[in-house]
Symmetry: none
Subunit: 263 residues, 2 copies
């Protein structure tokens, strides 16, 4: 949120060399970083490039264009996607936008406008997004320093790996609020979670282990069954006084019954 914003990074999928040359010239003088590709690349590579937006001419991808557009948009919801095309009809434009594109610019178009539209798309993301604001987080005895990629409890480092750290940072940044697995995965891994993926659970466990080792008196990560996880520093299991069961005998009976685990 300070003045020192990282330069805009965009990927361009287009083979209209004239258009690309004019556009990239403008981008250069504006300090933008760009990567020109002549064909579709796997969405994961776009993640690796760490671009803020994708400028794609779907017409050069042939019939695969629409499918590619849809795949990218659903897999990378955080990526700004602008489509360019020569003389697209209204229904084509509507189709593209409905598939998930953020904007559509018909060629021929002025590079300045393309850049302004790209900014508009990305601006909205940065404004509210869980973007790269490197603010340290301090909750109770826990301290997280994004600049050091380290987390401390009472000054002792937790010695987290990269994923563990990013997961903890996300959770602690949203102290008190429940985050669904999908959103966690999207934020930490950078792309949409596949159905049935258990990675989040596994890393939650690792985090819990390391947190518990350093401070056994507190519980940090709480499970919300069927929903997700919530970060909050609470004294671990104070054994709530009197669960107010009317009949203690009944409880014992049920407990006795419930041990029906067939080997």
């Amino acid at each position: 949120m300070s003045d020192a914003r990282p330069p805009m990074r965009v990927a361009i999928i287009d083979n209209d060399s004239g258009f690309v040359r004019v556009l990239t010239n403008r981008m250069d003088s504006a300090g933008w970083q760009h990567r020109v590709l002549s064909s579709a690349v796997p969405p994961q590579e776009l993640v690796a490039m760490k671009v803020h937006a994708l400028l794609v001419d779907v017409s050069i991808l042939g019939n695969e264009g629409w499918g590619y557009l849809e795949k990218v948009c659903s897999l990378l919801p955080d990526l700004g996607v602008l489509v360019t095309m020569n003389g697209a009809t209204v229904s084509q434009r509507v189709k593209g936008l409905r598939l998930g594109a953020d904007d559509w610019v018909n060629k021929p178009c002025h590079p300045e406008e393309v850049m302004a539209r790209t900014e508009a798309v990305v601006r909205r993301r940065r404004r509210v997004g869980s973007g790269a604001d490197d603010a340290p987080v301090m909750v109770g005895e826990l301290e997280i320093r994004p600049d050091q990629f380290q987390a401390f409890i009472s000054g002792q480092s937790l010695d987290l790996t990269r994923r563990e750290f990013e997961l903890l940072y996300l959770l602690a940044s949203n102290d008190g609020t429940v985050l669904e697995r999908d959103r966690i995965y999207q934020s930490v891994w950078g792309y949409a979670m596949a159905h049935g993926d258990r990675s989040v659970d596994v890393f939650i466990r690792k985090l819990r282990q390391k947190l518990e080792r350093r401070s056994p008196a507190f519980a940090y990560i709480h499970t919300h069954f069927g929903v997700g996880y919530r970060f909050a520093v609470e004294t671990s299991v104070p054994d709530l006084p009197g669960p107010d069961k009317e009949d203690p005998g009944r409880e014992a009976e049920r407990d006795a019954e419930a041990t029906s685990a067939p080997a």
Copy 2:
């Protein structure tokens, strides 16, 4: 939260009656809610309208147009802003986008495209927003925080399951009004209730148990025989030592009359 998404709500500032008529017709058939304004309104009013997006023709505002656009965009960063205008030049469009507009559509344009672009803008906002879509509810000592998936009484968590929580949230959101079982089921479960299904009753009971445990002095959920349930915080029958039996007539009267603060 659940499947039920609220319909799209947009404000339209335009005096091109022909364009507006065609556009609103389309919106009506798509189930959108719209509010047409013939001149600029203070940004606070836009907030009060709870619209997701603003569609504005800056040209009808004269020289004030640009200033108004800038003011709205800076004051309401969460609002989607689309500008429409007759034959705007490239530099005008760029100027508008740089001032904070999310999209720019030159007239004449197809209403379907305008709507698709509006969806794209709002979609992006929802996507990155930290999910603070639902407002907390506070009734008496009861506090419900949708972001935490938790409900509290006097600060103590009620430890509700997912269904229990959504049911309580629905009831408390409609404080004072009777909700029929069908409506409740449709809202919480997301589909129509099968004939003879008792799930609602069972969950009402679970809720009552947990509520009563935390605050025995109050009754929260009231049965309306043959109709449904009504949420209202009332002091539960004080059980005066005088009468051997409770007077059924008095009870019925209480249910019918004692509605406190119908919102």
